[in-house]
Amino acid sequence: MTDSEAHDTARLDSLSEKLDEALRTLAEVSDFAKHTRIRRVFDTARRLMLQEGGCARVEARARQLDEAGVFMGSDWAQPQTLIPSLTSHSLKSPDADTVVVEALSELRLLAIALGDYVHPGMSSEQAHHNLTQVMAINLELLFGAPSEAEREQQGKLALLPRNLFRHLAERIGYEHVIDKLIEEIWRILQQRPIQVDSVKQMITQIAICQANPDIDLGISGQGADRLISSLYGTTQACRVDPGVEVYRERLNSMDAGALQYEATGFARAMHDTGLVSPYHAVLLRYLLEQSDHLLSEALGLSSTGRDCLLCYGELVHAMIDEAVHPQTAQAIYGLALLLEKGILYQPPAAPALWRQLALPISSYCQQRLSLAFGPELSPRVWLMQGVLCMLGQPLGVGQGNNPTCQSARALSMWAYNDPDYLLQMVVWAARDDEIIIHFEGQPISSRESASGVATELPLDLDPVSLLVVPHLDRIYAEMGRRCIGREGDPHRWVNPEFHGWWSGRGFRINVDVETGKLDQLEDFLRHFYASYHPYFNGNQPLIHPQPAGIAVTDSAARFVGWHAITILRVTLDPREEMRVYFYNPNNDSGQNWGNGVEVSTSGNGERFGESSLPFEQFASRLYIFHYDPLESGELAQVSVEALERVKGLIYQSWGADRLPAEPLQASAPH
């Protein structure tokens, strides 16, 4: 060891010691006074992370940092709620504390991702996903030197995020970072979410890095081309990202053949990735004045969709004119899928969409939309785009970073199963600022109901959810309040009234609400098989989407919480295995639930946005389902082995500490 190395190590040791001491004093103080002790932790951690090798020292203390209360009361308190796209702002903040707490949070994620810190609220996979996205969004921090602006704003502090990202990449594996990101982006895109802003942001970052001659990505990043081109160079005429005005000029000089070429290029890219290029919007608007044939090509329609377009030409034109702009290009994908589904052939759909086009939006809703999406386009444009996307991609609805899975599930279910009801909800919310749903004959107004599950108004949602979810959330909570005092789980009454007549009024739950212990597990499972499994229900495919409740577990199979999902289909997968296909309103459904239960989102016969599990594995996480009480209700003769397998999966995971106290069996005398 050279002298300077010895000196560096000594300095790291001394700062680590100071950090330990600062954490010790922070840990011992009562919660309300944490802020009086936090300064020393921040100042010491900052100096440590500015040292070569300092991030490793902090990472090793991730658990102590968290437990001492460094994140308490801040936006970083719960790692499972962190939004990767916000990191780029905080890491570039001129405020040292913001940079430090964000960096500490990233190192905590790293420790969770690598399994060194077992966190009660987050699995290592979740942490890994989150971290990869953070790296994707901040790629330039990994490969680039501080810009002039950063140096001016942050000074020496600008080195901190760079040290951090170097450390993250080294720990996760440098050479794979970019490829992992691309894999991650594809994995998310395969679920076809409505909201793609953060995906776009990640792709943009990769593009910026590729274009920067100072950054050597080596051989990695090859797979990014398809993603980048789908946004910024989809076709011949926009290959080098010339800007929308130039592109619009170029269209003027194209003949029908060239336009056809452009149209199919965009359509292929859109259906391939689920992403829509802003140039695509320019083309589509231009084609409004050309032919419906070209319009259909640009939407990539099959004969079903084309028929629909031709039948409702005027409506489709009006919707494109209203909703499709470079900023709202995703509306094109929503529109294309809407046409493909043939929704417009349902008698109320077309008039309801005409009503939507002319809908006066309340000033409150206008404000909310402008706040969430910016003032550049009128709020009605955003709402129309949102309507098209939700009708086209019902399984792409996400709950954002909010505890409102029931409301997201309801919206998705209506878009999937009862589109004109959804359009009615949108009208009530957007025009009247009030939704009324009846509960056992009594009207419940969202305006009169006190509060919902969510304590704050969400902003990180698609336009329709943004306006409708707060109403649904309050109504849902009020229905729950009206069940107070009833025995058992309130979902029994709330779910059918809230979601629609097709939700079975029959209800089964395998947890005793009083004790939290497992209850009549075997009957529950046999009944579930009898209701849903085609081999046991007379080969009857599921007709309507059904609400169900899941006990979510993390990758270590530990119980995380109860969660609302929709069962969509139960059928054989391409490998002839019986699978349950379901919708999960959380924003990323690819999850590892532990003891071998890995939710699949593609490759096992899933349609876009569906999650799936083999039947037994699904049954092992189910705790609530609905059924039609008029069906025979005979318990299925499931084999003992199959039931034992399912029960085993329950006992090894969320059921581990829920075993009911067994009555002692007196052994029979011989």
């Binding site: 103080v29 009562s30 919660d31 309300f32 006074a33 802020h35 300064r39 100096r47 020496k156």
Partner: protein, 413 residues
Amino acid sequence: MSKNRKENFNPEKGYVAILGWSVNAIEAADRFDRRYVVVAPDWAEEYCVEHQIPYVPWNFERLNDRSMEIAQTLKDMGVNVAIPLFEETVEWAGAINSVLLDNPRLFGQAMLLRDKALMKRRAQLGGIRVGIFEEAHDKEDVVRFLKRVNQTLLKLDGDPNDPIHLKAFDKAGCLGHRVIRTPDEVDSIPDEEFPVLMESHLDGWEFAVEAWIHNGKIRFLNISEYVTLGYSVFVPATPELEKYRAQITTQIEKLIKTFDIEFGFIHPEYFVTNDGEMYFGEVAYRPPGFKVFELLERAYGFNAYQGLILSFDPKTTEEEITSFFPKEVVDAKGVAGCFGVYPRRRVVSRLEIPEETEEHEYFESHELTAPLEETVTKRTAFGTHWGLLYFFGPDPIVMRDLLKHQEDLDFYV
């Protein structure tokens, strides 16, 4: 979730009222084994409700007819003793404790400790050395005193004057403290600052003492060394100052006797002159400013606020208080110091901690914030620093020089 909520308090011990608002003090009480209640103005209510802090609203204006009311309220609640946190609550504590402890003398004692002129007279009567002092009611009094002090020192016209110090009667520490050298400077004193106490300047070494007292005995005696008054302080002191510890202890014992202090906490200031003579400056019956309690915790590891509660609680046992406090100087894990930053330039635009400060091994943290205004108001009195820097390390001499050196650095540029 807080750890030690008050259901865990020890019923054998006292129930204390904390007068004034200090999160550090409340937090220390919250973790301690005594039942407590915070007496603070009503703006504290929301915070207390939110964090389930036991609280009684009270506005500490001047003592008035209603002072019996709060004393009675606390007595009815079963409170045993009131602890003042700030200069303004010292007389309230005296009034309340005279009721709670059924000892009317405590009120008189508190009034004595609140008035710097009365305090000095009492000290003088007790045989404690004090400098020359006088009360001033207007500017003319100040000019007269300045002249007379310098005549006494046999200065001739034209010789540079020895300065005199002006202090408000009833304010804490450095608030309202001015140094006057020439009659011209007298004009800069606003009329509303009168009356003030004037003192001759003592050429010597000023230091402060923190002493925890129980049953009339000193339980812990700390000597805080000032590097430059109003700028910096550290604990424990250098061996050069600590060599006076025996003498200082004798002085404190005199003070305890003179002021008839049975329990609680005192914070006196002294000068030691070149010939080793101790001069009494003033004494406060409350925790010192400048975060000395926090420095003590860093240096010794004990919570000085909990020590405060112990020293006030009449139910504290001999054994308990003896085992609570460490042994002075030898038990310190290191030296903790802080430095108050004043901007040195007239116009500043941003905060920039000098690299040499931040990179110093002793540096721990800072509480400086970005400047709100670009123009720096000219400093006329002590006690308005812009924030503190904290240091910790093994060597008191290194600490002293390091703190001194900070005075030459710019933190706002």
